[in-house]
């Protein structure tokens, strides 16, 4: 208002809006979600924090545990190791992913869809799997051990190779998105000015994609520093923070020190998370400009070079999986190479047998169904509620926290929280329920953001229209919001299912003898020297995830066809 504030009529009564039935239902719903997230995220983390400040007897001792941690060279050295591994892996992954993404978005090479599909394969596997394959390739009796020229795979080299394989698709997705947002007009201008290809790359392409690249760096860095599967299998004597947590807690039953390492592990994850948030905010401003999509023109030599690169990377990815598959069907590498299904006879081995596979399917199904319901309905409430601003912001914040919490830390926090004798929820400890709660929470944020994005794309006035027509919001939610958001809902449930199949880090602390999981079985069988069976179980996970993904693709296509009439493409 440019004019000064004129005196407001003193008699005008302040409005005291009466809450309608919809408002009440939504507010209660949001409160329930808030309580749920408190129990699933906030309280466990708080318990973890307080545990790290206690001695074995449960007395508060301030930062003494942290002092001890930093005074123990072996433990302290793990920080250095973790950072080294994370930085090197990030550099390699981002470089490879960038070139690969460049090939997919900026060249006219044939077979792009296939190459993109191949690049996504690592997502279907637990991080343990590439490590096992690397052992078969480069281990003491490795197939192509000589390539390492005397260096050992058990240590930083192996960890980096495994992490690069496992994080590659995550980086690729982000960079592809960044590169596809390019504005063709900038390239036309560059060309009309006679700018050289190389200069165009450095002055147009890189700056345009820089936020995506930086974001991908943070994601990969966090994934690597918090991953525990690869170093566990192939790390040898090379200690990193993630394996330290596991050793302290599972090996030495030193919960306090485990909590301390967990807290230390939280630091880089949270920092990367905050930095990424800041950068993403800047990127949003970049997208909002009206861009004309860039369409590459065929350039034979460049396209061939790009395809060559993709072939090499794709071959490596498939090679790792193939080695694992091969190993799973071999009697006893390298002595007896007869083909056999013997390794798939999981019931003969420790680790939970076929029951753990069945448990995984059950757990992943519950996670997908329950998680999708909670997350989508929750995102809807957060997005659509009117008023109630403080609680809303609080809940919204709680929805974002899980992204910054490494799985190991979450799992550890769950032990402390749910295994606490004073906790009335202790009964879920050791059940399937806690695995589902933990997994839903672990992967909450990405799903929440997917749901929020889909909801934001809908007309914000649907709710206003249904209010004016006196239709309760939940009817419109069911009749309009859900059908319109079906693609996003499917994406979320698939994402949850596949991650529930492959995750190790969080659940490794909280599974029980009755609820062993396939991914944990891979870990335990590998630990027990049953490497071939570990590989076999790994294959079961890959095949299951791939099957579910294929089903998802079919469903999506079917839905696209049936809703063709109304869906605006």
């Amino acid at each position: 208002m440019t004019e000064g504030v004129t005196t407001l009529s003193a008699v005008a009564p302040k409005a005291r809006p009466i809450l309608g039935r919809d408002d009440w239902i939504m507010r209660w719903g949001l409160l329930v979600l808030g309580v749920w997230l408190s129990v699933a995220v906030v309280l466990p983390l708080y318990t973890l924090l307080s545990k790290s400040l206690e001695d074995h007897g449960g007395r508060f001792i301030g930062l003494a545990n942290f002092a001890e941690f930093f005074a123990t060279p072996v433990l302290f050295h793990s920080i250095y190791n973790s950072l080294t591994i994370a930085i090197i892996s990030t550099a390699i992954t981002i470089t490879l992913a960038f070139i690969y993404a460049y090939a997919l978005t900026r060249s006219c090479m044939p077979g792009k869809a296939i190459f993109k599909g191949i690049a996504m394969v690592p997502i279907l596997a637990p991080s343990l799997l590439p490590a096992i394959s690397l052992v078969y390739l480069f281990g003491n009796q490795g197939m192509i051990k000589g390539v390492l020229m005397g260096e050992t795979i058990y240590g930083p080299i192996g960890i980096v190779m495994g992490e690069v394989f496992w994080t590659f698709p995550h980086a690729l997705i982000i960079i592809i998105t960044a590169l596809s947002m390019a504005d063709a007009r900038l390239y036309e201008v560059a060309e009309s000015l006679g700018t050289s290809k190389l200069r165009t790359f450095f002055t147009v392409t890189l700056p345009g994609a820089r936020y995506g690249v930086i974001s991908a760096c943070f994601v990969v860095f966090t994934l690597v520093i918090t991953d525990f599967g690869v170093p566990k299998v192939i790390g040898g004597q090379y200690n990193v923070l993630a394996t330290d947590v596991y050793k302290q807690v599972i090996g030495q039953q030193n919960f306090q020190m485990g909590a301390v390492v967990g807290m230390v592990l939280l630091v880089p994850a949270v920092l990367a998370f905050i930095a990424d948030r800041i950068i993403q905010r800047k990127q949003v401003a970049l997208i909002s400009a009206r861009a004309v999509p860039y369409h590459p023109k065929p350039k034979t030599r460049f396209d061939m070079a790009m395809m060559g690169f993709c072939c090499v990377v794709g071959f490596m990815i498939l090679g790792i999986i193939a080695v694992d598959a091969f190993a799973s069907f071999i009697q006893l590498w390298p002595y007896n190479l007869t083909l056999t299904l013997y390794n798939y006879d999981f019931d003969l081995r420790d680790g939970g047998g076929w029951a753990s596979y069945r448990n995984s399917i059950v757990m992943a199904s519950y996670t997908a169904v329950i998680g999708t319901v909670i997350i989508f309905a929750g995102a809807y409430l957060v997005e659509k509620i009117r008023g109630f601003t403080v609680i809303r912001s609080l809940v919204q914040f709680m929805c974002i926290i899980p992204l910054a919490v490494p799985g190991l830390v979450l799992g550890l926090a769950y032990i402390f929280f749910f295994n606490h004798p004073a906790n009335p929820l202790e009964f879920v400890y050791g059940t399937m329920a806690i695995l589902v709660i933990c997994t839903v929470t672990h992967f909450y944020t990405v799903s929440h953001l997917t749901a929020t994005t889909a909801l934001k794309q809908m007309d914000p006035e649907f709710e206003a229209v249904s209010m004016s027509l006196k239709v309760p919001f939940y009817k419109t939610f069911w009749r309009v919001t859900v059908p319109v958001c079906v693609p996003a809902i499917l994406d979320i449930s698939i994402y949850l299912f596949v991650n529930a199949m492959t995750t190790v880090s969080a659940v490794v602390f909280i599974y029980s003898a009755d609820t062993t999981l396939a991914s944990v079985a891979v870990l335990n069988m590998d630990d027990a020297g049953e490497v071939a069976s570990a590989a076999a179980m790994g294959m079961m996970i890959v095949v299951t995830s791939a099957g579910v993904r294929a089903l998802h693709a079919l469903l999506t296509r079917g839905i696209a066809r049936t809703s063709q009439a109304w869906r605006v493409r």
Binding site: V5, T6, S9, M467
Partner: protein
């Protein structure tokens, strides 16, 4: 300054339907509506007119209960609805985006609010058919919104809003997403629909032509306040502020000084103003307002009242008339915009560069204190 007037030609026998009292709406510290009061009568077609960001939508949403005001009362049909949630008020609404449910057919969209009214299936079907006929889409019921043109979607939204026979119809810029031709056509459609149904209607628009052609009364808004309320002709003829004059139609703004009870000086010349100077004191700096078409050129004799010599510095043909830019040396080189009819231009051989006599008719001169 707000004057309240009853609709033209209807006197006081019309019943008040909506009473808006001292509405203030704040978003944090920002005051979006400031002490707005307004009466709306049953069956009226009201337009909220004003530049974008002046608070039209905010006022409409307060009336609907979608964003309840910070202070003030609203009464609808004699009932205090100030604090009621939207779902308990009685209105139908059409948004600029139409907000049609994309996954439901046109019929399902129109019948959306009926399903909740415990009507039988057959009765709903009948009502939907009736509504679709009403908006001229009788044969489109089985299509999806995405298969319709913008104008058709707009009419579906209208039918949906009318389905439950609300006492009040709220339209928020319903035509602004359409192209010009469809817009003009739909203006007529909405008007005739209003005439047939007689439902009290409030339409928000920033398009003065739309407001002038459709409204029974126009509420001109500016920066969260009401500038003027009146029939289109009143608003056009007697703008109560320079803002209204400028926003509705085109207006010349000339700086002058009051020199008497019915005279002002512009540059070196004194002008008689038939309507007086509105009680302003001598020596007061004022803005003198005249519409381009009010400037006289035919039959203006040199030395006549309020007449003076100008040079035509620009002449632009605008289809049904010419718009001239005039340079008045005697007024201190003030620039005046005047509209001349095609006949005038032809008969008087007006041309760029020519020097002519014009007059500012005293009865059209409006004077506002300069601030």
């Amino acid at each position: 300054m707000v004057t309240q007037e009853t609709p033209a030609g209807s006197g006081d026998q019309r019943t008040r339907y909506l009473k808006i009292e001292n509405i203030t709406k704040k978003f944090g510290e920002f005051v979006a509506l400031q002490d707005i009061s307004l009466d709306i009568y049953k069956g009226e077609f009201i337009c909220f007119l004003g530049p974008s960001g002046c608070g039209k939508t905010t006022l409409l949403r307060a009336i609907a209960g979608l964003d309840i005001q910070t202070r003030g009362r609203i009464e609808q049909d004699g009932k205090d609805i100030s604090n009621l949630p939207a779902a308990e008020r009685n209105f139908g609404i059409v948004f600029q985006s139409y907000a049609l449910f994309p996954n439901l057919t046109v019929s399902k969209n129109v019948g959306y609010g009926l399903v909740n009214q415990r009507m039988g299936k057959a009765a709903i079907g009948e009502r939907v058919a009736e509504l679709l006929d009403l908006v001229g889409l009788g044969d489109q019921g089985s299509k999806y919104p995405a298969q319709l043109s913008g104008g058709e979607q707009q009419r579906v939204a209208l039918a949906r809003a009318l389905a439950t026979s609300p006492g009040l119809l709220l339209l928020d810029e319903p035509l602004s997403a359409l192209d010009a031709k469809v817009r003009v056509f739909l203006r007529q459609e909405i008007k005739s629909l209003h005439r047939r149904l007689g439902v009290t209607t409030i339409m928000v628009t920033h398009d003065q032509e739309e407001a002038l052609t459709m409204a029974d009364r126009i509420v001109v808004m500016n920066q969260g306040t009401i500038e003027q309320v009146g029939t289109p002709i009143e608003i056009y003829r007697n703008p109560m502020s320079p803002f209204v004059g400028n926003f509705v139609g085109t207006m010349n703004f000339l700086s002058g000084v009051v020199t008497g009870a019915a005279s002002v000086r512009l540059g070196a010349m004194e002008f008689d103003c038939a309507n007086g100077v509105g009680g302003l004191t001598e020596g007061q700096a004022v803005t003198v307002c005249l519409r381009p078409e009010e400037i006289a050129v035919r039959g203006v004799a040199s030395g006549g009242a309020n007449s003076f010599e100008v040079r035509i510095s620009g002449l632009e043909f605008l289809g049904s008339f010419y718009r001239a830019t005039l340079q008045a040396a005697r007024l201190g080189d003030m620039e005046i915009i005047a509209d001349f009819s095609i006949n005038e231009v032809r008969d008087m051989t007006l041309d760029e560069g020519a020097t002519i006599q014009i007059a500012l008719p005293g009865e059209y001169i409006r004077i506002f204190a300069e601030d």
